[in-house]
């Protein structure tokens, strides 16, 4: 199917029919902010959201998931795999970039079937950003739009006219857009208007200005291990992990067994964990590799700007800005830290 130009009423009718047929998660209002949640009707979908509190990673790697059921006595166990297909509606480009990175992480050394089953079952509709959040800097990280990027099944972009350009990119996307078959094809004028929206996003999604190129971050971090900023900021750090949990490229987890009352059967759960938490690097025997707040504090930045580069060739800060707002101590801004490091004489 080609690229469609869709009026709002038709878009709503399409979304309403989708939620009747399958599980759709979409960006919706939550208090004064936004969150992805099960979508019941098109009117609840807020494609004008600025940023969601948690990234959509929660649908691929839930906060808490049962990965195995076991019987201690008979030593039997079975993996638990989530089989339900679903649609993720309204993901922003920076979050899509993060999902593509996580696809690498969860297949790199060991193929994670729990994550990948959900990933295979998902149809992702990316929405070009309509409202910039107060702390987004995705443009500095080259993640303001989907230009030159893949992983999404459909790209939808709202034009200043109020119409939407709906652009299916994969077979899954084509299938999802079947309900729009009657809509007119997007003409050259509409496609031109879309380019303008994308150009504008590349300009405006930079509430903070990163004064180094993303690809120079690994070298910058490499020479900054003893910079005083780590200690200075760490003194204000609560070790609360908020900056980890809201980050679309933080994927660390902890695995725990929960026993049933029969004391024989139980299940193994996987839960989110974060490198900023005190006990994260604690290992058996009471040793903690990063018992110092400053060591934990700096680790996150090294992880985002260097280690991911070293292991899978990407800078894993996508510029969503969530950590900036989530940190109640106001010390988690990656741009501020990277710029401070860049100012130091080499």
């Amino acid at each position: 199917m080609g690229i469609k130009l869709v009026a709002r009423a038709r878009l709503d009718a399409w979304v309403d029919s989708l939620v009747q047929q399958q599980t759709v998660y979409g960006a919706q209002a939550k208090g004064d902010r936004f969150a992805f949640d099960r979508l019941e009707r098109a009117s609840a979908l807020r494609l004008d959201y600025d940023v969601t509190i948690l990234p959509p990673k929660k649908y691929f790697q839930p906060q808490r998931e049962v990965i195995m059921r076991f019987n201690r006595k008979t030593v039997e166990f079975e993996s638990v795999i989530d089989e339900e297909p679903f649609v993720l509606f309204g993901v922003h480009p920076y979050d899509m970039v993060a999902i593509s990175q996580m696809d690498k992480v969860f297949t790199m050394n060991q193929f994670d079937k729990h994550y990948m089953a959900r990933r295979a079952n998902a149809t992702i509709v990316v929405s070009s950003v309509e409202t910039a959040s107060s702390s987004v800097f995705a443009a500095c990280m080259n993640n303001a739009t989907m230009r030159g990027k893949s992983g999404h099944d459909v790209l939808i972009t709202k034009l200043p006219s109020g119409h939407y350009v709906v652009d299916p990119r994969t077979e899954k996307g084509d299938n999802l857009c079947e309900g729009l078959a009657e809509a007119p094809e997007a003409n050259a004028e509409a496609l031109d208007a879309r380019e303008k929206v994308l150009n504008q996003n590349e300009k405006s999604l930079r509430k903070y200005e990163l004064r180094v190129l993303p690809e120079d971050l690994p070298a910058l971090l490499d020479r900054s291990r003893s910079h005083p900023v780590w200690q200075e900021k760490a003194e204000l750090c609560y070790s609360c992990g908020s900056c980890n949990f809201v980050c679309p490229t933080c994927y660390c987890f902890d695995v725990e067994d929960e026993m049933g009352w029969d004391m024989e059967t139980g299940h193994r759960v996987r839960k989110w964990d974060g490198c900023m938490l005190v006990d994260f690097a604690a290992v058996a025997g009471g040793h903690n590799f990063r018992s110092k707040r400053s060591a934990r504090y700096s680790h996150r930045y090294y992880r985002k700007g260097k280690y991911s580069w070293d292991t899978y060739g990407e800078i894993s800060c996508v510029g969503c800005g969530r950590c900036i707002t989530a940190c109640t101590a106001n010390i988690a801004n990656p741009v501020e830290i990277f710029n401070t490091l860049a100012e130091a004489p080499q």
Partner: protein, 243 residues
Amino acid sequence: MIKPRIAIFDFACCEGCQLQIVNMEEELLSLLEHVQPVEWREAMSDQSDDYDIAIVEGSITREEDANRLREIRKRAKTLIALGACATLGGVNKLKNLFDLEEVKTAVYAESASLPILETATVQALHEVVDVDYRIEGCPIDAAELTYVIKCLLIGRAPAPPNYPVCVECKLAENVCRYDYDEICLGPITRAGCRARCPSNAFWCFGCRGPVDDPNVHAATQVMEQYGKTVEDLKVKLTLFGTQ
């Protein structure tokens, strides 16, 4: 398997934490298949001097209570402090902010001098005896009690969370109370309640006590950024942070 004998005691408290146990309903029946209750004033009439696990609710406010607690400690192999009154001294410790005689007169008026109304500085259980495990909260979360008991049954040391409430609050995807210009004690309070208060649009008032190494320095510095003072923070800390 011999069922461990379990006894539940209460000191100065509202018995709200025991109520959480009673309210466990089906979960409680499962639990009772594995332990044998030998004394529990709120639910049975028996008394016993012989038990493996003592679950103690409430704080210590009189010398005779302290002695009774020492007696319980002697008999119990494992002593669990149940709820904020037991683990921290809880709201009862507000009394410690005032002169004892004044408090007595305010509460009992003319009868204040009766020997039976003798009262002392409020103490948490660990300030009187050794406590093996703590179940924090005002009131407790029954799921944590079942977790601790299950651990004891299979011989594993229970590990309560040593991270702040913010962790569970973020997992629940709540809007942060600081976004509403409120002071929330979540960043320095021990998690385990599934961020009960912020999940219900209320700031955390610290009923589970602090994490092992709370960054109080950060908390005081951060106040200024939000246009608040250290005094504002101290007021919030009074309820469950009084010594």
